[in-house]
Symmetry: none
Subunit: 246 residues, 2 copies
């Protein structure tokens, strides 16, 4: 897990308490703790903000208020701004995936800056950041809700290299092989397989189960089914009517 503790999420003049609350929630979801509001046009402790934050009340309660972006950035070493669309300003937009690892490697605190719900950041504010993120979006409607933009960036920050899948370990291969041999014998007995089709069909079944990756308890269940089919087959054999073809 990454240590995102020192990273600041800065919202410039947010107007909607629900947005601020949603930002707090998704920050805590992704292990971010420091929220800074620049000249907010709403109260971060408004009941609507608290309602949206759910179990992230402490982020609202400990958020810092700053009179300007410059003040909010004090003590930071790397800063990244976000913007919805290309500006008149000659600006290189990069994706979250390109920029955020660099922000996270910042030796002193880094800052990720989000603009107003309606107008985003001014050019002067964008120029206070080192790099600028444009979240990839469809040209028909590229403007994301503020909390969604924070959520997507927070998610990218939280991404760590893929870890081992969770859940039960796989069954030992010799046990899986034992099951396949048992399966083949049973299917030959009950007439699903014939000597000339057994190869291709068993290959298909092996592939299906191997692709799935059988756990020990799944293997036990499949063996249980075969055992019951075998029993049925024996009953059938012992009760075959005289003269009945095999």
């Amino acid at each position: 897990m990454n240590n995102l503790d020192p990273l600041r999420i800065i919202l410039v003049e947010p107007a909607g308490p629900r947005n601020v609350g949603s930002v707090a929630r998704v920050m805590k979801n992704m292990g971010l703790k420091r929220l800074v509001l620049v000249n907010p046009h709403c109260d971060p402790l408004d009941p609507e903000a608290r309602q949206m934050a759910v179990h992230a009340q402490e982020i609202l309660e400990t958020c810092r208020l700053a009179p300007s972006l410059t003040a909010a950035l004090e003590g930071c070493q790397r800063a990244v701004a976000t913007t919805a669309q290309p500006r008149s300003l000659a600006l290189t937009l990069e994706t979250p995936r390109q920029v955020l690892p660099w922000l996270q490697e910042s030796p002193a605190p880094g800052a990720l800056i989000f603009g107003r719900e309606d107008k985003g950041l001014t050019n002067e504010e964008i120029n206070q950041a080192h790099r600028c993120i444009g979240i990839p979006a469809h040209p028909d409607y590229p403007s994301l809700n503020l909390a969604q933009a924070v959520g997507i960036c927070a998610y990218e920050l939280f991404q760590t290299p893929a870890t081992e899948p969770e859940g039960e370990p796989l069954a030992p291969l010799e046990q899986v092989e034992g099951y396949f041999q048992h399966l083949e014998k049973t299917l030959l007995n009950i007439g699903v397989l014939y000597p000339h089709t057994r190869g291709a069909r068993m290959a298909k079944l092996r592939r299906l189960y191997q692709r799935s990756g059988l756990s020990p308890s799944e293997l036990a269940l499949l063996r249980g089914i075969l055992g019951q089919v075998d029993w049925l087959w024996q009953q059938f054999q012992s009760r075959r009517r005289p003269g009945e073809a095999e």
Copy 2:
């Protein structure tokens, strides 16, 4: 740019109109168009939903209502469920980045399923999907807002370059469901399942086969095995000795 047109976003029993509106907005931001609500507990055309959707009104207006997840999945070929946390059910959770490219390569429509705001998806609902996503989040507070979860997945989908599908396509989900029901009936008949164990054991078997992803020819082979076991069972029934217990 990817063509995400046919992909369905399915919300099961959403209760908050604001969440539904926010989902519509972020769907349009990321080029997604088809919203399906399973038995919603709110009106997708509620003023609060419309307010949050902003310029994505048409997604609310054209969203489909379905009486059950099974109905919502009709015609889909690949389905992915989302869940906040590991369940009792032995379930392999994968990340959006691991699973969503596979969903996008689905030759027929794919579906991405999100659960209730408070309780997520039931195990039975999760078992209707082939794979299951857990969005990586901090253990202190891993529960994301519904619209944030959709937003992160939609963003990942929009990032994914579409590639050509490999190999045989998957069997239609309604045929897979038909197989599971046949399997359950047969296993009850032959005494592998009992009424009190059927739920847990069928869940295990469903998970195993869904994880594998069955092709039409594999499904035909499995159906052939069941058909033969059924025949054997009928023979056994018709030849039961007088007075023999059932």
